[in-house]
Symmetry: C3
Subunit: 441 residues, 3 copies
């Protein structure tokens, strides 16, 4: 691993200059704050916490018109966008200093609280989500920057995660600056910028559905200034169903919890949520249709969790017999986890708490992680959005993973843990991630 380390040494060499706007001793926030440092890009993803104004060449205090005059030359696109926005059309207009301050040496980036000054109802709706727990937009950042396993992740990966989880800490994830047009945020792509990729393939699911195909055919010419109400759109988009009537609280119909957790679909709470779904579907479909689709989804989920639980039990039994390596002792503990240092505890699966283990585990645990986080979520998202083929495809992947893990377990047992034939050795156990993070998080 020498060359990798040489490269990392080079990477470290750049580090001093890498702390652009952030002071070098910037520290993290929350319970585990002492154990990690923010990434330089944090200041853009979580400006309320991390943004530090640059000391730029331009000095002075400016009111809006002076800003616009100069920026029409420097960054004309954003001035154009602002001029086309409602901010420019109301009287008096919402000028630059309202969001950025007026001292060019101390400019700020707006947070949801900044926007909430004029849009208190929307902010309240977002905040209301917190009662529904995670996953939710409102907790998307907090759970990331202050989750134990994030302190142990490679910095580049954390930066990539934050890019989308910043939906909690700034509003222009959906309402692109500087136009902030609801007409834009109603389009599915506003959501799909983040809702894509293996753990949340909503883009694939939506576009594979009859709903999404209809949008692809005709959406370009629809009048998106219309509110998200019954009869206004020929097919639902993400926001039509998940942000009914423009409600910015997106969690009150979350029956299936993103597909991540096994749920009981028939609790009283879930019955209420299902009723909300039925009403939404009934905007367009006969009321008896939706329940049949929900039942199909419940069955799909039961099948998926049957597969996942079978494999998790298999891995736990291997672990119990000391056959799964690296063991807890062979794996470095979280940097902040002195309990784990003294009493290493074996864990399997995301919810046992050592999620960072997925970066420092043998092939069997990683394959199970991918089965759970990628294949299972693809199966769920497909079924939930009317993309049946997609759901079955991911079920086939789960079957293949389960079969392969079952065979590997059998080989392991038949050899009494002899490693030959089983890819148990984690690449990064003593490699760059582990060492780098141990030193720098």
């Amino acid at each position: 691993m020498r060359p990798a380390h040489l490269l990392l040494v080079a990477a470290l060499f750049w580090t001093p200059t890498a702390w652009g706007g952030l002071p070098e001793n910037a520290s993290g926030v929350g319970e585990h704050a002492a154990h990690w440092q923010p990434d330089p890009l944090h200041e853009y993803w979580d400006p309320g916490t991390y943004h530090r104004p640059e000391s730029e060449a331009v000095e002075g205090v400016f009111q809006g018109e002076a800003c616009l005059e100069c920026h029409a030359g420097v960054t004309p696109g954003l001035v154009k966008d602002w001029r086309a926005s409602r901010h420019a059309q109301v009287e008096p207009p919402v000028l630059c200093p309202a969001c950025h301050g007026d001292d060019h040496q101390k400019l700020t980036f707006p947070t949801p609280q900044t926007c909430g000054t004029c849009h208190p109802q929307r902010l309240a709706q977002v905040e209301e989500e917190k009662q529904y727990g995670f996953p939710s937009h409102a907790l998307a950042m907090e759970r990331v920057v202050d989750a134990k396993h994030f302190a142990d992740k490679p910095k580049a990966e954390v930066a990539s995660c934050l890019q989308c989880h910043s939906v909690a800490t700034k509003c222009d994830s959906c309402h692109t600056r500087h136009r902030f047009d609801p007409a834009e945020a109603r389009r599915p792509e506003a959501c799909l910028t983040c809702h894509s990729g293996p753990p949340h393939p909503d883009d694939e699911a939506y576009f594979a559905s009859a709903h999404g195909r209809k949008y692809q055919k005709e959406g370009a010419l629809w009048d998106w200034s219309k509110p998200l109400r019954k009869g206004n759109y020929a097919t639902p988009t993400c926001a039509y169903c998940h942000m009914k009537d423009g409600n910015h609280q997106v969690a009150d119909k979350a029956v299936w919890k993103f597909g991540i957790r096994e749920i009981n679909p028939t609790t009283a709470e879930n019955e209420i949520k299902r009723k909300r779904w039925r009403e939404t579907c009934a905007d367009c479909h006969p009321p008896e249709v939706a329940p049949e689709f929900f039942r199909a989804l419940d069955q799909e989920r039961a099948t998926a969790w049957g597969k996942l639980n079978t494999v998790e039990r298999l891995l736990k039994s291997l672990r119990g017999d000391g056959l799964l390596r690296p063991s807890a002792r062979e794996r470095p503990p979280y940097p902040m986890d002195w309990m784990a240092r003294l009493f290493p505890r074996e864990r399997i699966g995301f919810f046992e708490g050592q999620a960072s283990a997925f970066y420092n585990v043998g092939a069997l645990e990683r394959d199970y992680f991918e089965m759970w986080y990628f294949d299972n979520l693809g199966a769920y998202k497909g079924m939930a959005h009317g993309a049946g083929e997609m759901s079955q495809r991911f079920h086939q992947r789960m079957d293949a993973a389960a079969q392969s893990l079952g065979a590997a377990a059998e080989r392991l047992r038949s050899k009494g843990g002899e490693t030959s034939g089983i890819d148990w050795k984690p690449l990064w156990l003593e490699g760059e991630y582990t060492r780098f993070n141990r030193d720098h998080n």
Copy 2:
């Protein structure tokens, strides 16, 4: 597998309520009818056979205007769509009862035959496809619900298959209700709602081609009310080539049979079909271009089948030597297949007839299935639609599968069938699919 079973018990518990519109003793159709039951969702995918009207709160007999008046409040979107349709503009208009009946307690969903009352030529074109066999739109449902291996498939998967195969049993797969606009059905996405995913990645192929990219760039602003005739469109879409002049018979140019079967490209029949293709291509390209592309496609197919046949021969030889497990005896037979119960017969590959084996086989057979059904079809679809990179990518996957299967075969032989190192154990042999289907199909 206990927890999986507990879950399934839970799933069964829901079953009584799961038979929404369908009576509990609803049975399948066709030769194998006695051996399976329709899924509740069948009534939407195959309404002519399975739809049972709900006993709804609303009673009475309504002519169109009364329907529209009430539904403008209940489901305004569909009323808007209908008002924008040609059905609303002809004199007299085609009102709701024409397709749904007028008794609100006995509403029906229209079938192709319903639509054929006014559109007999289109219906005749669809029916004409049957002479070309499968694959075809006209036989897409029949071959699914009455195919032996479908009786053995997991219900959730069958439901997913039906969603698209219902192209044979209702017209709104392509002409979205209640506007039924040919302008919509001419758009590629009308086809791609179903023609996507591993066994038919036409979406990937089309959008990766120069044809598809041109459509993506400019199609949103084209006038789609124009018929699919020479000179009307700047680039071909699915329907332009496959439904020339709007012909709803889509099978008369099917030289390469979807890539599923090895064909002789130079039969007299195929020469006629190729001539039809040449004429289609010559709408835009010099007449000497198309034959060169056909030759490239023939070569690609020959190469692909060379790979597939090599591997199929390999698996047959393993089977002949008793090295491929589970063997026919180790695998449960089709529920209806008493001959197979008495005289289990070894089979390899889709066309030997035990397609459901792909759900209950060892890793080698499944990998071969995916090589044939996913990789081979990707290679074909890419080449056939001018997406060369895509085709080569799937050829690389076939190479990798062949190499891996070859090495596994060698290990199996060197160990005389000892399983160690080979993933032969099918996950579901005694698992949920097999048992569930054995009991409930």
Copy 3:
């Protein structure tokens, strides 16, 4: 492998008719010309070198108006496109013979030089790229048809490669004939027709980014006749950043060299290129933002090359110990490579020079190839275009490949090269590719 060969015999049987416009003894060009023959499709991808006019039924010499009159019936689409083009609107119009000649028996296809007659600045910009070496548009064809490993590739694959690499030999890769509209070439899809697929997933990267999503939402209605200048577009497209102000020289900001090569990001030359990037980003973003993203990209690249170098070193060490098979002696040399015949030399990796080895190698080398060419490039393209999730996904694939290759290496060593358990046997060593190419390239 018999059936494969029978199929190939059949393929060869078609070959005589396969040389449509090309004489049967047509030979390749360049240093290795004697060792390969062009594919029939070459005449369309590289018309300047390979196009041979057909002897068609139509004889005579025609000026433009006569061409248009007849072709309005034969191929009306292209006449329409031409009439809508600037070529039709200038005075005098640029008529058909300007590009195709006027003798219908000797029609030609235009090359960049043909277009350069009227557009010398654009041609000069394209030619200027050559000083930046490969990858570049200007050298895209030359490096393909005259690269040693292309003479050894399967013909079908070469044809697929040429389809895009023809960007060097004709202008309608981007400016679709016969409209040649800059408004079309400015759209991202003009680039993405080729910039897609595993080794260059720019489509996936762009559409996953906030930039691309904005384009997907609103691009259909933008005024694409505007030049690619600051303030004209609400979000950048490929050409906005890579062809600033319409500059057809696309290589002068190529710091990271497509992700293919490990680069030193801080050379004087790269500092100049980075400055060009910073200026481009500053059209819309505050000037201090871009450098932070570049640093994140530098770190991502360092991490990626750390992984690749680790694995390459591993494979080299296996090779050094004679454990990696097939060895150079077991593998057929390039047809033209008499030195390699006499003195077979072991090589690992693309840049050691035997790229065709990737078609005739064991599973370990192929897996490394895919790690380098597919996963690494996905990781790069994602990070470079603001699609962080995509980048991390490909990093996870690199981790999985590295882990699996590491475990395979360990097994190989523990068995002293005994093959059991390692897929070393290349499928095509004595198979169709090798033999076919040996005989026919």
